[in-house]
């Protein structure tokens, strides 16, 4: 297997052009900045030029002096000051504007990632620059065994298949996997007619009893001393938030030691895209169609991870495949927590077929859902409370996200405003739980002040405290 490398990632929507990254780079490198932030297409938008440390680097191939080499261990394209003759041919090989001459002294400069701890990333106050650990993940997990057969029958671009494969790679063979009815078994993980699609023990619980069956398995294995088995589910949202809710809630309340991964594609996608309790307001589904009288779902989705927080589950986190490093981090913690109590990981999973998203835009949809706060990424433990794992500050408008999703195509301005208000409200609530002072969203600010204190008494100020139910 080839080796992959970590990189510096740029999230354009978050960048406010403050220039701290360039200052930090200049300071560390004692010269011109290797990263450059330039004005973007509209006022307040910014773009970035920085070495991508290409796997197939043209700068290296055009260098006549052997001064540039792709470092097999770090992935960085190393530049040798001794060998370089500053001929600038390398600049012709770079389509990113990432290798250039220092205006002072004229020597070639390029990013060396500061040896894995880039100054620009540390200096970035907006979260626009990130140290992306995807390469490390690939190296760590790429060699691990894929627990599913190749050629599962998911739709093209299926995000759930991605989740399944990644999660099970990490979990490994010492596990028991429940995949309740839905796309996950539907695509062949439990197999057909006596053949299996999975290398670990796998079963098809009822849509309604996943958490319970798992609880029974765990209890027995714990009783006979086989405590190291990961007992887990890859379950859809329908079986989790609707008809299987009792089982999830019961297992969480009892602190059953299981790992429950909810792959949330916001409805019953396998049976033909019907609405579930996790389907967001306004969505077109086959049971919330769009016509003259009805324009998609008229209720908001229930927030299952928050419900799990209210259960004081041992671990609760939300995750998105647009942020794999984080997903893997959370998976690590979720697995660990599943040996102590109920561990709940909620992964958002756009469905190209059911949501009407082009299959090559699924990860983009994941990313925009997070950038718009439609999906918030956070984690919770009873000990540490709730914390955001990605800042919800500086979101893009929800409408930008909604526009990328076919199931929202019909939404009118009022509906979009409803969604935006709901997103703002959820973020405000989460911020309170996270102990961050929330600026009241417009929707709340307009409402009369609500207070539980007697009339006349001042409303108690928001407390800077972490939520510990």
């Amino acid at each position: 297997m080839s080796i992959a490398f970590d990189t510096i990632a740029f999230r354009a929507p978050k960048c406010d052009g403050c220039g701290e990254c360039m200052k930090a780079c200049s300071a560390v490198k004692q010269g011109a900045s290797r990263i450059s932030i330039v004005p973007g297409a509209s006022a307040g938008a910014f773009e970035m030029a920085l070495c991508r440390q290409c796997g197939d680097p043209k700068c290296v191939m055009v260098c006549p002096a052997g001064a540039l080499t792709k470092n097999g261990a770090s992935g960085v394209i190393d530049w040798s000051a001794d060998k370089c003759v500053d001929c600038l041919l390398c600049t012709s090989g770079c389509a990113y504007g990432a290798i250039s001459a220092d205006p002072v002294g004229g020597r070639v400069i390029k990013c060396d990632q500061c040896g894995g701890d880039p100054a620009c990333v540390s200096a970035c106050p907006s979260g626009a620059l990130e140290w992306g650990g995807a390469g490390s993940i690939y190296n760590r997990f790429g060699e691990m065994e894929d627990m599913f057969v190749p050629g599962l029958a998911g739709c093209q671009g299926c995000n759930s298949e991605l989740i399944m494969r990644h999660v099970m790679r990490r979990v490994g063979r010492n596990s028991v996997l429940a995949t309740p009815p839905g796309c996950i078994p539907g695509m062949g993980s439990v197999g057909y007619n006596g053949k299996t699609g999975t290398k670990v023990p796998v079963f098809h619980p009822l849509l309604t009893n996943t958490a319970s069956m798992l609880a029974g398995i765990r209890r027995y294995y714990d009783k006979v001393g086989r405590k190291d088995i990961v007992v887990m589910a890859l379950a859809g949202d329908g079986g989790t938030v609707d008809c299987g809710f009792h089982a999830v809630s019961g297992a969480a309340e009892r602190g059953e030691k299981i790992l429950y991964v909810c792959v949330d594609n916001e409805g019953y996608m396998n049976t033909g895209m019907q609405r579930s309790g996790a389907t967001p307001y306004g969505s077109w589904t086959s049971t919330t169609p769009v016509g003259d009288k009805l324009k998609g779902k008229t209720q908001d989705a229930k927030n299952m991870p928050m419900i799990m927080v209210a259960h004081r589950a041992a671990y609760v986190a939300t995750a998105s495949t647009a942020y794999m490093e984080e997903l893997y981090d959370k998976l690590d913690r979720a697995i660990e927590a599943s040996f102590k109590g109920f561990s709940y990981l909620h992964i958002y999973s756009p469905c190209p077929t059911g949501w009407r998203v082009a299959s090559n835009k699924v990860i983009e949809a994941c990313r925009m859902s997070v950038e718009s706060n439609f999906v918030t990424l956070w984690e919770y433990t009873p000990e540490a409370g709730l914390r955001f794992t990605r800042s919800p500050d500086r979101p893009i408008p929800v409408v930008d996200y909604a526009r990328t999703i076919g199931k929202y195509r019909h939404l009118d301005a009022d509906q979009l405003a409803h969604i935006q208000a709901k997103v703002d409200e959820q973020v405000a609530l989460l911020k309170r739980l996270a102990g961050e002072v929330a600026t009241a969203p417009a929707a709340l600010a307009a409402a009369p002040a609500r207070t539980s204190t007697p009339d006349g008494a001042a409303t108690p100020p928001l407390r800077h405290e972490t939520f510990r139910p």
Binding site: G40, E47, R52, V85
Partner: protein, 416 residues
């Protein structure tokens, strides 16, 4: 008889890139790289720096022995190919050894073209194309006080700079009225000329050497205006020609170089060519030309390599784009595309400032060429804008004001 599935002749940019491309598709097909050079691979472009002493001859190698071991490619230095039999699939070397190939890459590059100046062949003169040339020049220049350079192209100017920096009195004779003819425009040329002049170099532009004669261990070059320019050493840098002699009689079609199609295939089956030896598509004109630069050698080498390894999915090549970067006396000049173009259909914007010069050529609101002096830019990005024929639309003014910023923005958006 030695044989290889992939036989690469020539060990410079084109050959090395082909090797890499082949190995990406075929991890262990047998491969050999033959080269006339006795050293490990190096680039001709680095030679001026070897000549100046900035680069040590043993520090300029592009690939070490271990690389060839790792890639499973037999590296055979000191092996000059002398003839090719495409029917028998045999390459015959100067010493008579024959290599059998399944697929052959011709990457023998170019060699100095020696102009037919009366007397030239009877005097000692230098060229600069091989490491040996550079080392010889360096030795010679340590003993000389005056040097004459024929040709104010890239090689001539580089060498002239080096000679001047080493303290020699240097005269450069150039047929055309400007330096770097064909690459840069007259105004850019003026600035470079000024740099040379300020370092005491005599540039004799628009002059033709008519006669060369030996003189006290040195030379005397007579120009068309009757002047005699004397030197202790003479460097001929009047251009290059593709190394195709060894292909004579092979049936491989040759014009100024080996004619190749958009996958670098020659007219002979299972024979490819790339780099300075090849005459392939030119992006701007749509005709086949020898571009003689590294970026083109690399691109062609890659396409050839992938095609040799059987990659059926390659997009047809859009053609080579001139890209040149220069730095004379610390002053950078960069040109991409039809930087010197003028006339109908071209919109030329020249920005002349005391400390920098920029010339942007647009056609149909799209960038087709750009050159700057003392204002380096992202040559790779400009190349992309030209190749992709990006319509600058409403961004044109912003682009003209700051091509680097707008170029970076466009690329950042594009690659996201």
């Amino acid at each position: 008889m030695p044989e290889a599935k992939y036989l690469l002749v020539g060990s410079s940019h084109a050959g090395l890139e082909a090797l890499r491309a082949i190995r990406r598709l075929d991890a262990d097909g047998s491969m050999a790289m033959l080269t006339k050079d006795s050293q490990l691979p190096y680039s001709p472009t680095v030679l001026p720096y070897v000549m100046s002493g900035r680069s040590k001859p043993d520090a300029v190698i592009l690939r070490d022995r271990a690389f060839f071991d790792e890639t499973g490619c037999v590296y055979a230095p000191g092996q000059a190919a002398q003839s090719l039999d495409t029917k028998a699939r045999l390459v015959t070397l100067a010493d008579g050894v024959q290599w059998r190939y399944e697929r052959l890459l011709i990457a023998t590059g170019a060699a100095p073209a020696i102009p037919p100046i009366p007397g030239l062949q009877s005097v000692p003169f230098h060229v600069l194309r091989t490491l040996d040339d550079a080392v010889n020049l360096r030795t010679r220049m340590g003993l000389a006080r005056r040097a004459v350079v024929l040709g104010a192209g890239l090689v001539g100017l580089h060498a002239a700079e080096t000679l001047a920096e080493a303290g020699l009195a240097v005269s450069v004779i150039e047929m055309k009225n400007q330096v770097l003819p064909g690459y840069i425009d007259a105004k850019a040329s003026e600035r470079i000329e000024a740099a040379f002049a300020s370092h005491g170099i005599k540039l004799l532009l628009g002059r033709t050497a008519t006669q060369v004669a030996a003189l006290d261990g040195g030379v005397s070059v007579t120009t068309d205006d009757g002047r005699a320019i004397e030197g202790d050493m003479l460097l001929v840098a009047t251009g290059v020609k593709s190394c195709t002699e060894w292909l004579a009689g092979s049936g491989v079609e040759i014009d100024r170089g080996v004619l190749v199609d958009d996958r670098m295939r020659t007219s002979a089956a299972d024979v490819w060519a790339a780099g300075d030896v090849a005459q392939g598509l030119d992006f701007a004109s749509g005709e086949r030309q020898v571009l003689g630069i590294i970026p083109t050698a690399v691109e062609q080498g890659r396409i050839a390599g992938f095609d040799m390894a059987g990659d059926a999915k390659q997009k047809p090549w859009a053609g080579g784009l001139p890209v040149n970067t220069y730095r004379f006396f610390g002053r950078p000049a960069v040109s991409v595309g039809q930087a010197a173009a003028e006339g109908d259909g071209f919109e030329v914007v020249e920005q002349e400032q005391p400390r920098k010069y920029r010339r942007i050529v647009l056609a149909d609101n799209r960038l087709v060429g750009i050159i700057t002096v003392d204002d380096p830019f992202d040559a790779g990005i400009m190349g992309e804008l030209i190749r992709r024929r990006v319509d600058l639309g409403a961004m044109k003014d912003a682009f003209l004001a700051d091509p680097t910023q707008v170029g970076r923005r466009l690329m950042s958006e594009m690659w996201r």
